[in-house]
């Protein structure tokens, strides 16, 4: 097996690898966290502590499925810890004692300054390495709790300040995606003293509606609620928020803990390239178990090897400069599809999608049952290549639009 150093420093704390359990059902007690550490996870954000334990509903999950795939999205109605505070503090203490090299982050939430301060002191005393402030749980509707905090810059600033006045530990503010612009609340948190940002918590959602009983799923004694959506499906939203934080001078340099649909080492590498230094995972663990750490780590090591880097930190944010405002994109050229007739199985899906969803450029030979591209009509959107089930359509010839691209060469276009 390949051996590469996956360690990374985050807020002065060394992680043996960037992978953490996020604050959620997967890090809910000593036994779970101990197993995760033993299997190789770099760190754990222990499930959010609050003064009074939560009272959970049953059932509490739902999934969004798509044909042959196992679920692509996951809905969770669970809130914060269900244990008495002293039990969780005891578990944190024990974990830190038995796994001194594993990073343990205590997630906390409160509804007023005093409670924030008290919790911060308690988790510091219990031995936590850092504190994550849960400004973002979407399954509660109180105006001073959960994602209501993360939508209100003043509360973010105020609570960060309160916590920082009570502890010496590094503090991460965990943000909600249920907002248009994250920079304002993230910056307010930084003004209040937050050292880093976790991004994102889950997205408020209704996944499915039961058609017979006219209620969202899951059904809790005939009723349901809006609650957090997670899993592979939310990755694009998370990557976008991280990019925007990295793109704004106010938040550009804040360390980021990336969260949202990480399942494979490829997902992990994507988060790192857009600027996350450490990564948090829940849904994939709920679906497949802690064992996914094997391929997260091994795959990332191979990727580092391919990129020729010895330190993970060298990869952080490499994609940021290549993600630019839409108006600045080069629009002088188009790329025609290249059809590989040996691979083509003659399903005609490219023809249908081009006709019904694009510019009617794909033509269909009824006898041969094969497509050809009419370049007079083709706009180079490449929808055809995306719907092809066998990967028979790739990027082909590059041409400049009429009257454009003088003094330029098509070979200089990066495809």
């Amino acid at each position: 097996m390949i051996k590469k150093d996956l360690s990374i420093e985050f807020l002065g704390v060394k992680f043996k690898n960037p992978f953490m359990l996020s604050s959620s059902p997967v890090g809910n007690c000593y036994d779970m966290c101990a197993k995760a550490f033993r299997l190789g996870w770099g760190g754990i954000v222990y499930k959010t502590l609050i003064k009074d334990p939560c009272d959970e509903c049953s059932p509490r999950y739902d999934t969004l499925r798509k044909e042959g795939t196992s679920f692509v999205g996951f809905k969770n109605m669970e809130q914060l810890t269900e244990h008495p505070l002293e039990d969780d503090l005891r578990d944190i203490r024990r974990l830190k004692k038995e796994f001194p090299d594993g990073v343990l982050v205590a997630s906390i939430m409160a509804g007023n300054d005093e409670d924030w301060k008290t919790l911060a002191k308690q988790v510091e005393d219990a031995g936590a390495d850092m504190i994550e402030l849960n400004f973002s749980c979407p399954q509660m509707t109180d105006t001073h709790l959960g994602s209501a905090i993360g939508q209100n810059p003043d509360l973010c600033r105020q609570y960060c300040k309160a916590v920082k006045s009570a502890t010496k530990l590094p503090v991460i503010a965990k943000m909600t995606p249920n907002i248009t612009d994250m920079v304002e609340v993230a910056y307010a948190s930084m003004e209040g003293g937050a050292d880093a940002i976790s991004c994102i918590n889950t997205i408020k959602s209704i996944l499915n509606v039961d058609l017979d009983r006219e209620v969202g799923l899951p059904i809790v004694n005939g009723k349901s609620s809006i609650s957090g959506y997670s899993g592979k499906a939310v990755k694009p939203v998370a990557l976008r928020f991280i990019q925007q934080l990295r793109d704004n001078p106010k938040t550009r340099d804040v360390p980021i803990s990336g969260i949202g649909g990480i399942e494979t080492w490829r997902d992990a590498a994507e988060f790192i390239l857009v600027g996350a230094s450490i990564l948090q995972v829940t849904t994939a663990i709920m679906q497949y178990g802690y064992r996914i750490i094997d391929d997260l780590c091994n795959g990332l090591m191979h990727y580092m090897d391919e990129k020729g880097v010895d330190h993970l930190s060298e990869l952080v944010g490499l994609a940021n400069k290549n993600i630019i405002p839409a108006e600045e994109l080069d629009r002088d050229f188009k790329i025609y599809p290249k059809i590989d007739n040996d691979k083509c199985v003659g399903c005609g899906r490219c023809f249908i999608s081009c006709y019904d969803g694009s510019h009617q450029a794909m033509e269909w030979d009824k006898k041969l049952r094969r497509p050809t591209c009419n370049t007079d009509k083709c706009v180079g959107c490449l929808l055809c290549s995306l719907v092809c089930p066998v990967g028979a359509i790739s990027k082909g010839e590059v041409v400049f639009k009429p009257g454009r691209g003088e003094k330029r060469k098509t070979k200089d276009i990066v495809v």
Binding site: G68, W265, R266, I292, D294, D295, G299, V390
Partner: protein, 409 residues
Amino acid sequence: MKDYLKEAEEGFSPLLAIEEASRCLLCHDAPCSKNCPAGTDPARFIRALRFLNEKGAAEVIRENNALGAICARVCPQEKYCKLGCSRSGIDKPIEIGKIQRYITDFEANLKMNILKKPERELGQKVAIIGSGPAALELAALLRMKGYSVTIFEKDEKLGGYLRYGIPSYRLPNDVLDLEIKRILDLGVEHKVNHRVNDEEFKKLKELYDAVIVATGYELAKTLPMFETHHEVELATQFLKRAKEMNGDIDVYSDVLVIGGGDVAMDVVTTLKRIGTPRVIDVVYEEFSEFRASEKELAEARAQNVSIIDGYVPMSYDGITVNFKHRHLDSVISIKPKHIILAVGQVARMQFGLDYEAGEVKTTNYRVGDSNVFVVGDIAHGDKTVVGAVKTAKEANYFIDNFLTKERAK
């Protein structure tokens, strides 16, 4: 000839490989991994592929089984990993061999070097007699630990039955060559066209710290009624002849094959692939008790071989073979142009080894308290490639223990 050399089964495309891996239920206590004699750990490499870690998957296979690309092709998986696959509860087992082949092809295309040379030389020497699957696997394992390993092979090329028995359309030469090259690249020495006789064997025991006998089932069995008829060919001779000539050998119009194991299936499909118009295979077992693997039998049927089950050969006069059904009152007579016997193989009795039921008597693969160990077909276990790999992996542990103790003396 083209049919003989071209690999019969198409490999997976990346798309199909990931689709097949996605069918896998990623079981908690995967039966596939428990059932692999070689410990190749299919559950682990399928999971790696499922999570898009092809390189990691290749590492899992190669580090568990130095003949991973070969086993992917020739292992009768339905008797091992695919047996008990939980997916069967929904539809049909995962195509584990094809996934393994996809990953090892990926490994070959990327020229990955997963097996590592030893970090230190232990200074002890091991001789391995034979170069079939057990010998190759053991050579890799002992070499990676730091032992000096020399293989002695009687034939021109390394590989044993993999080289001279299994037809090219099931195991292409380039796949075998690459597997052997990887092992030789670790620093394994080899001597070919070198048959060790009893006298040299005694010398090897003195010159080397350990001597491993991995000579396999070298001799083909015959039946009393055919013993004096030299025109009757033995299956292993035929397969070797076909393999050496890349399938470019004389074609008879009607060939009778007697036997129903995997070797017999290799014979009949080879005959068909080189263009034999009529191939009749008469088998002692009835279909309900057939010994050949599903895949091999299916291939023979797809090639339109006439298979007659449940008949025993009774007499042969140089022209006609008479058979009688084992249970029914039924006789048949066949006058073929050529006859090939595929009724099993046995070990050559040599080196003064003590045999019982076709296997050398050992304790933990060791012969008495000598420095001689035995692996492969002549050791206890399944007479398959994967069975051979298993004996090598197990023997490796005991040989290393033995040599470690010797070193300490």
